[in-house]
């Protein structure tokens, strides 16, 4: 109990959230109607909540092997990528059209995580070419070959 490290703290929070979800699932399945339709969910939810509470208690007491968690550097690294990805998926894909949004997101992610220097013109040209190639492949695959009609808004 004494030395609460960052991974262990995260572990307690994580298993706490899982336990909370389990409890609310359990509550919903025992209160919603019609009860015939919730027979099986009740069965699952009961096991779910027992296992989740067990995990949570074990996490608090420090009985379990804790995973590596997420270090501060890792979090700083992933945050911008994750934010871009979420904006892309939950807003831009529909709002701007699939192909426009994907090109923009692809280019931004490439610029963020590409090790090539940002001050050199050549690496920017390379990024633009990569993006264009990727989009051409995607268009060929989904629009021409599989004939999927994706949401289109501004350009294509």
């Amino acid at each position: 109990m004494s030395n609460i490290t960052l991974p262990r703290f995260q572990h307690i929070i994580g298993s706490g959230i899982v336990a909370a979800v389990g409890a609310s699932v359990c509550y919903i399945s025992y209160t919603q109607q019609p009860s015939e339709a919730f027979l099986f969910p009740r069965l699952i939810a009961t096991v779910f909540v027992v296992l989740a509470l067990w995990t949570f208690v074990k996490a608090c007491l420090g009985w379990t092997k804790v995973g590596n968690g997420i270090s501060l550097t890792q979090f700083k690294n992933l945050a911008p990528g994750l934010i871009i990805a979420l904006i892309y998926i939950f807003w831009a894909a529909k709002g701007l059209g699939f192909y426009t949004a994907t090109s923009i997101a692809f280019f931004i992610l490439l610029s963020l995580y590409d090790p090539a220097p940002h001050r050199v013109l050549k690496s920017w040209v390379k990024r633009i070419i990569t993006t264009a190639c990727f989009m051409a492949v995607m268009y060929g695959l989904f629009a021409l070959l599989l004939k999927v009609y994706t949401p289109r808004e501004i350009f294509f």
Binding site: G95, K147, Y149, E153, I154
Partner: protein, 322 residues
């Protein structure tokens, strides 16, 4: 960004207006999508693919129809989507199954009713039949009725879900014969219900004529009766339930056809209603449907509207007690 979006919105509105202005004379200008609320490979999906295969011909719509499957919850998922989320632009059609969607809308808990859709045309009518396993001791409908009367609630009868044609047929049988059966809804459509009959998990089953016909051909089941007004051309030797003395009409017959969501421009509805029935009557379509053991029954928009209204009335009465 805001101005960009506003510009896009205006451009889009402009597009819709020009489309409306020409009275849909050019419709369809791109491929059309038809939603089927059952999985790929099921009877509805299989028939929908056949009846729409000539849509690209010049004398039909001139554009192909692509099938989009949205299965789940006995069709509710797909029809909810068509009523609530699909665009009513004439490029999104849907396949209907009567009595399923009407019964579901009467029962409640869904976002559609007959008023949410506009029928285009009907292509098929698949009556429900009563089947038993090949080794079953039941040989006639009377045997089944006698057993059910002697053992109330013991006759296990499989069917593809609640508030579908099979369930309606079971309810009608119970009412007509003044008996109680144990209706076992299965998940996964007619195939799972049929498997239960063949394997002997249940004593009897109510299934689609087309599926039962195949199973009977293979020698796995006996078909005892058809829940329709007259005998079916595929099964000339099988009596209707009425002939066997059980007053069950054709309310459970599974009518399949095409509809569009409410709000689709009238010009497009008229064009589809004029073209689609002739597309169904194409000889290639009829040949494939017959080969697949699927009974055809083409009806135009006015006939379907009348059929929907009649069905809704019967079902309201039948389901009132439930």
């Amino acid at each position: 960004m805001k101005t960009l979006l506003a510009g896009a919105a205006i451009a889009l509105m402009g597009l819709t207006q020009t489309a409306a202005a020409d009275g849909h004379a050019n419709y369809p200008e791109r491929p059309i999508m038809m939603m089927v609320s059952y999985g790929a490979g099921g009877a509805t999906d299989f028939q929908a693919r056949i009846v729409t295969m000539t849509s690209g011909n010049e004398d039909a719509l001139g554009m192909p129809i692509a099938i989009l499957n949205k299965p789940g919850a006995g069709g509710r998922v797909g029809w909810n989507w068509l009523a609530g989320q699909a665009e009513a632009d004439g490029y999104t059609l849907g396949a209907y199954n009567v009595p399923h969607f009407i019964a579901q809308s009467i029962k409640g808990g869904v976002e559609y009713s007959t008023a949410s859709f506009e029928p285009i045309a009907n292509w098929g009518a698949d009556p429900a039949v009563l089947v038993v396993g090949k080794d079953s001791e039941f040989n006639t409908l009377q045997d089944v009725v006698d057993f059910a009367k002697a053992n109330p609630g013991k006759l296990t009868t499989s069917g593809a879900g609640l508030f579908v044609g099979h369930h309606i047929a079971a309810l009608q049988m119970e009412k007509a014969g003044d008996m109680k059966m144990a209706y076992i809804p299965t998940k996964g459509g007619g195939a799972a219900a049929m498997k239960a009959v063949i394997a002997g998990d249940v004593m009897a089953g109510i299934n689609n004529l087309s599926d039962a016909f195949r199973a009977a051909q293979a020698g796995n089941v006996k078909i005892l009766a058809v829940a329709d007004l007259e005998r079916n051309e595929f099964l000339p030797d099988v009596p209707t339930m009425m002939e066997s003395g059980l007053a069950v009409d054709n309310a459970s017959v599974n009518f399949r056809g095409v509809m569009v969501p409410k709000g689709t421009p009238q010009g497009i509805i008229d064009k589809l209603a004029a073209t689609v029935p002739t597309m169904f009557e194409n000889s290639r379509v009829a040949g494939k449907m017959k080969a697949g053991g699927s009974p055809m029954h083409v009806m135009n928009r006015d006939e379907v509207l009348a059929m929907w209204a009649a069905r809704e009335e019967t079902l309201k009465e039948l389901l009132a007690g439930l």
